[in-house]
């Protein structure tokens, strides 16, 4: 599949850069033109990315739409991109949310619009690049590149009080993890050379490698640290509340919806298949940390006074679920985890937008400043309610499917974990509903709140697509799950084959048996 002679993945990755080039040439006072170009670029990119969805082959676990050309000769560094069932939806999520973000910030951002739009598009390139890279070197580049625009978004357009602190903390914290990962990448690279006599960063070839157990442990830890900081897992989550709270609305949306997924995606793409023995070894550790994240995150949410901070901490809890699902290491857990990554993108993305909208009107995010809004802003209240319920995991909405699959998978692998995780679901209901009640119901206590305007058409346009997916995944998740299927099965097989839990024959069987599974029961 190619567009104008370029392969489709490269087009999707680098089209935003083209948009940037166009914007640079425009005078900074022409806000309308700048915003228009950004929207157009994002929209075109989203439409092109839909081709991936249409042409995606469900029956294979292999990477699709691949391109592989030498980049730095003599060092085995290639420009190798491709997607599978795990990355497909993350790319779609990215292109989709970029469009939403551009519309959402149409009126929010009042100064330095040119720079803002450039950062936004640059961020899109970085995020997509992370998900399409199949070469460790390339992956690392995109992984780091993402930091720069996000750092600027928080630091320049963030809330004035602590934006610089938050931006620098975000940058340094994330960089710390990734630098150690860089060393680990190099160790794998040279280990592979010592075994195969070939220099390569190509993960498809590195997957074939059997790394000695002792080395695996260290490498796993180095990679896991980088990803755990990004996820963020307890106890590496401390940058997140600051970054989220200070970032402009759109920054928070993309940070929560896409950037955090880079961490969980990293576990799926690298830790599991590259270090299977170490993965098994660390299942208890990661699971317990995930559980602590779920429960601790939820409990901290209960006491938050700031809406945005509450949602930020809820991310810690939700991402704990994702990690728990991934490290259940079975098909339900993994698919639930991946689906929950998307769900979190939609629900939490929507929540940040919703909070951003009320902040625009009232310039405060303190829960105590609100109350009784449902009478003043009925449309807003309805949408907020749907998203809140989706975040809690009400059956019929997206959150339920993801959490249910995760709990199912966890239950199969370790009952105790599942019991504790279920506790997290209850706590989620507590903090979300209580928050909703305080903000929306009761009497209108503050005078300023009486004359708040309900959502404008633009704001509804921003939120409706998200609501659509919240229902779509909740009612009929099959189009999503079926596309993950082959890749997830292969991933599990990769882990199990390498650790010798199953013979090659049995692993092959995985692809054959059990064709219609849990998802049919939904």
């Amino acid at each position: 599949m190619s567009i104008l002679g370029f392969d489709i993945l490269s087009v999707i990755t680098f089209l935003p850069l083209l948009g940037i080039l166009l914007i640079i040439g425009i005078h900074k006072e022409k806000h309308g033109v700048i915003k228009g170009i950004t929207l157009l670029t994002a929209l075109v990119n989203f439409i092109i990315s839909l081709i991936l969805y249409r042409d995606f082959n469900l029956t294979t676990h292999r990477f699709q739409f691949t391109t592989n050309v030498p980049w730095i000769r003599g060092y085995g560094i290639n420009y190798h991109v491709g997607i599978d069932g795990i990355s497909l939806f993350l790319i779609l999520l990215t292109t989709f949310l970029t469009v939403i973000s551009v519309i959402a910030c149409w009126k929010d951002i009042k100064e330095k619009i040119k720079g803002f739009m450039i950062c936004l598009l640059f961020l899109e390139t970085g995020m997509i690049g992370v998900f399409v890279s199949l070469d460790l070197f390339l992956f690392y580049i995109f992984w780091e590149v993402v930091l720069i625009p996000m750092y600027l978004l928080i630091g320049v357009w963030g809330a004035p009080a602590r934006r610089i602190y938050a931006a620098v903390k975000f940058f340094i914290y994330t960089m710390f993890g990734s630098l150690l990962m860089l060393v680990a990448i190099l160790v794998i690279y040279f280990y592979n050379y010592s075994v195969t006599g070939m220099y390569t960063f190509d993960i498809e070839q590195l997957y074939q490698l059997s790394i000695p157990y002792g080395t695996q442990i260290w490498l796993f830890l180095a990679f896991a640290l980088a990803f755990a900081i990004k996820v963020p897992m307890f106890p590496f989550h401390t940058w997140l509340p600051d970054a989220h709270t200070e970032a402009p609305t759109v920054g928070s949306v993309l940070l929560a919806a896409v950037l955090l997924k880079m961490g969980t995606y990293g576990f799926l793409r690298f830790n599991l298949p590259l270090f299977p023995e170490a993965t098994l070894k660390f299942v208890p550790l990661i699971s317990v940390l995930a559980l602590i994240g779920i429960i601790y995150g939820a409990m901290v949410c209960i006491v938050q006074k700031d809406l945005k901070r509450l949602i930020a901490f809820s991310s810690v809890s939700h991402l704990g679920f994702v990690m728990l699902g991934i490290f259940a290491l079975n098909i339900q857990g993994l698919e639930g985890g991946i689906l929950q990554m998307l769900n979190h993108g939609f629900s939490t993305g929507a929540l940040f937008l919703i909070v951003g909208m009320i902040y625009e009107r009232r310039h405060t995010r303190m829960i105590e400043e609100f109350g009784g809004l449902s009478k003043v802003m009925p449309v807003y209240a309805t949408i907020f309610m749907i998203v809140t319920l989706s975040s809690i995991g009400l059956p019929g909405l997206n959150g339920f499917v993801g959490e249910f699959l995760i709990l199912l998978g966890t239950f199969k692998s370790n009952m105790v974990y599942a019991v504790f995780a279920a506790l997290g679901v209850i706590l989620a209901a507590v903090y979300m509903l209580w928050m909703f009640q305080r903000v929306m119901f009761g009497e209108v206590t503050k005078e300023e709140n009486r004359k708040l305007k309900d959502l404008s058409l633009r704001e509804i346009i921003v939120l409706l697509p998200l609501i659509f997916f919240i229902f779509q995944i909740g009612v009929y998740p099959k189009p999503f799950l079926s596309r993950m299927d082959a890749s997830v099965r292969h991933l599990i097989a990769q882990v199990e084959l390498k650790v010798g839990k199953k013979s090659a024959e049995e692993v092959r069987m995985v692809y054959v048996i059990d064709p219609d599974r849990v998802k049919q029961g939904k």
């Binding site: 320049v156 630098l179 060393v183 040279f190």
Partner: protein, 491 residues
Amino acid sequence: MKMMMPIVPPIVNLKSILPELVVVITALVVLLFDLALAKDKKTPLAILSLLGLAISLIFSIFMWREGVSAYAFNQLIVIDRFTLFFNALFIVASFITLLISINYLREEGINYGEYYTLVLLATVGMMLMAKANDLIMVFLGLETLSISIYVLVGFLRTNVKSNESSLKYFLLGAFSSAFLLYGIALVYGATGTTKLPDIARYIENTPHLLSNPLLLAAVGLLIVGFGFKVALVPFHMWTPDVYEGAPTSITAFMSVGVKAAAFSAFLRVFLSSFSALRADWTMILWILAVLTMTLGNVVAIIQENIKRMLAYSSIAHAGYILVAMTAGGSLATTSIIYYLMAYTLMNLGAFAVVILYGKKGEENILISDYAGAGFKYPFLSVAMTIFMFSLAGIPPLAGFVGKFYIFSAAVKQGFIWLTIIAVLNSLVAVYYYLRVTVIMYMSEPVKEVGHLPFSVSMIIALFITTFFTLHMGILPSSYLQLARESIAILM
């Protein structure tokens, strides 16, 4: 016709130093021509110097392409791709230095012809240092270079700081030259020769020599001598003061040119002559690398003056290069070459911004003076951001690729802990480079900076440095190839 005849030694010899010769002649012509020009009209001298450097660069490139490999002047000089590469690097460094000097000299009122002559002579010193095949020649090159730089550092004659730093650099420099010379004398005492290949041969063929205290002392003294010039901790004390006091253009020149020159000789002496003693000096370099990186980065954090910050950052960068030298091997040497290229361009770029933004009399030399520059001078600030991110080693810029290969080399040779210390150091470095961008983009302006003195030469310099910082980062293949071919002769 005469060229074809076999016995015409002087001509053959002259060809071997053709690039240097061009620069020397240019320097002398500039000096002469200077007399004919009025005090404020020295721009022709700059153009003449640039022209001479360009010609010399072309000769170097042609000779590199040709793959000449020969000794000359009774084996005092070696000419091969390694030396020619360094020749080209020094010429580029001094070319860009002159580009960023022109307007600066005019503004500071130090627009004298001698400036150009001295920069050119310092360049010749660097070139000879890289071409040295004999410790004596290393010393001569070093002195030619150093004496010119001593004068240049004090070129702001009426400025106390400039005078102070000139004297400081001169005294400590003379002291370190003595160390180097002492080391050379001891090498001669131990091996009976000062020729680099002969030393190597002698050491290899004389097994007991490896534990010879005389030779070990010599190696130690040489490390001190070179360590001073490249500013390794604990021989770095002069760096921040001298860098701060010197005219900014000279600071830029020193931070890249002098450093690269000292490294070129350091590399050749240690990798070719003393490679048999590797086990002895690796440990020393390991410790020096860790000290240099850590002190440079940690102290850079608290600097308020951007020149001092860049001075400490340059110390840290010497530390990274030392990591690769400790590791050894062809990948390491390739990475050093690449790193020096990248460092030269990005650091000169950063200094170009410092000069431009500093304005007359360095009135905006504090990091806090950059507040609010980000959206006021968008292109300048984007360029500065690129240089800062590149110096911090963030992809996809030249500095990242350089660091990546240095770390690769260290991991390859099994120096995992050294690599981990190095990456943690680059994390510390991120903080202070980031701070510049924080101030530029995220702080409100505190004072009126007004119109910046953009000039054509400055814009050309900024364009060259920005372009290559990006290009070397995004498409590093050809540069790495260049580095590999340049060091093939040493391996």
